[in-house]
Symmetry: C2
Subunit: 215 residues, 2 copies
DNA sequence: CGTGGCTTGTGAAAGAGTTCACAAGAACAT
DNA sequence: ATGTTCTTGTGAACTCTTTCACAAGCCACG
């Protein structure tokens, strides 16, 4: 095993393996091979083994992997031994939907608290999560030891919120605002952009017509 | 120019360039260099030029790219000369949020119609989009010439809906359900999975502790 | 206890994607 | 015209990721 640079694609696949293993675990499957794992997420068996080999040796030759053990190992690799403490900023349309997204908890993430600038929004609970005014942001982020913030504000204020969040010891941000964020390098940032995914589909759909043109 | 296999990362970056160009266009900028484009999305100038060279030659040596022209070219590459016709299945929490997501239209996508199985949900408009019962699905998908379907149903029924959608001449699916979908190869499918992105963040956060270990 | 069947873990090969580095233009000044 | 400056477009080099192929190891069975 060599803990060098792990590629983003490897991490993505680890998540997919984990999903699969949880399903298998629920279904009572006890042992799984790299072929099964590969089939379950649409990759190759060699890829599965290479991915895992980045972190150690988890299977038995001739037998495969013990589902429960591999699940626990991947959870540990992904840093999910304890639920991650998450806060949400911007309890609008998409923010509220996320507050009501129950699967997050079973995937290892707990939204502890939410914030909004609008008096209509704060001061109540949405799907059992308290929504607080923005002036309590820094204080509560550190008091609640929040690790990850989900940004669901309008793009125009995303940078400003990101700055305040960064200053509060949070380690990662998942942003739904399409705007680019300038953050200091110690902070991990990811984006989710529905339109960008749709643009990807649009390209594929068009390409299906124009097919193979040479040189 | 050679229209071979365009990588997913290239397409992703094209979307980012397009966003940037639209902002520049709004700001009145007329000409842009590969260096500016690169800076705006966090890549290198060479990468920008390589990406574009897959599709032709869009700049003037010594000068750069004309913002309006490059914007139009990328829109055309991504198949966004006309708004794409989109339908949504599952007008629940996240589905409704998407129906109210106005930026989709400015990015080139129009949600024409939505469907739900729940009588509480269908028979009214949500953010001006009519929500119809599922028994009208096939008929309306083809009548409205829908190109892309956004799947926002519970994971358990996603496959079943995907099957019906495939049979109705739709070219692409964007699914919010984490479950794997078996679809025929002519259909383009993408996933958005909040938990998967959070898992990616969780990994990075953990890795920040364990740092560089050798061999 | 040895043999056969099966699956892992991993170097080496192949394939993709990114970065480098520079010739080919384009504008503009002299 | 000619020279200077600037930025594109693109082969070639490099780096990263995936696939191949097989020795090593485990279990079952005789
Ligand atoms: N609605 C969707 O389906 C959708 C999908 C993808 C991405 N997005 C993006 O997600 C973000 C939110 O979209 P939405 O549709 O939920 O918008 P929204 O207007 O419904 O919600 C935004 C919320 O942010 C709050 N807010 C505004 N300024 C704030 C500030 N300075 N600090 C804290 N909170 C503040 C508002 O009060 C509001 O509750 C936007 O960036 C949007 O582009 C939305
Ligand atoms: N809520 C979130 O923030 C969130 C985030 C990411 C992903 N998701 C995923 O998106 C999907 C929807 O989540 P949600 O939170 O909006 O759930 P939800 O229960 O609020 O909405 C689901 C909707 O689908 C409808 N539906 C159920 N069966 C159907 C069928 N056979 N045909 C058509 N419609 C049907 C329901 O009536 C409901 O309106 C789920 O797969 C969920 O895992 C949700």
């Amino acid at each position: 095993m060599n803990l060098r640079k792990i590629s983003e694609s490897t991490v993505r696949r680890l998540s997919l393996y984990l999903n699969l293993l949880r399903d298998m675990s629920d279904a009572g499957t006890e042992v799984v091979s790299s072929v099964d794992l590969a089939g379950g997420i649409g990759t190759t068996a060699a890829q599965v083994r290479k991915d895992l080999s980045n972190f150690g040796s988890f299977g038995k030759r001739g037998q495969g992997y013990v589902v429960e053990d591999l699940r626990a190992s991947i959870e540990s690799i992904l840093g999910l031994v304890r639920p991650r403490r998450v806060a949400l900023v911007g309890a609008g349309k998409i923010g509220s939907a996320l507050l009501g997204y129950r699967d997050l908890r079973t995937r290892g993430f707990e939204i502890i608290v939410a914030f909004d600038i609008d008096p209509e929004k704060y001061g109540r609970k949405v799907f059992d999560v308290p929504v607080l005014p923005m002036d309590q942001l820094e204080q509560r982020l550190s008091a609640d030891r929040i690790e990850i913030v989900i940004l669901a504000t309008p793009p125009a204020v995303a940078q400003e919120v990101a700055n305040r969040v960064t200053a509060s010891g949070v380690a990662g941000i998942l942003s739904f605002a399409a705007s680019k964020l300038e953050t200091d390098a110690t902070l991990a940032v990811r984006w989710m952009d529905v339109a960008l995914e749709l643009e990807g589909l649009s390209f594929l759909i068009s390409a299906a017509g124009n097919e193979v043109e040479e040189s």
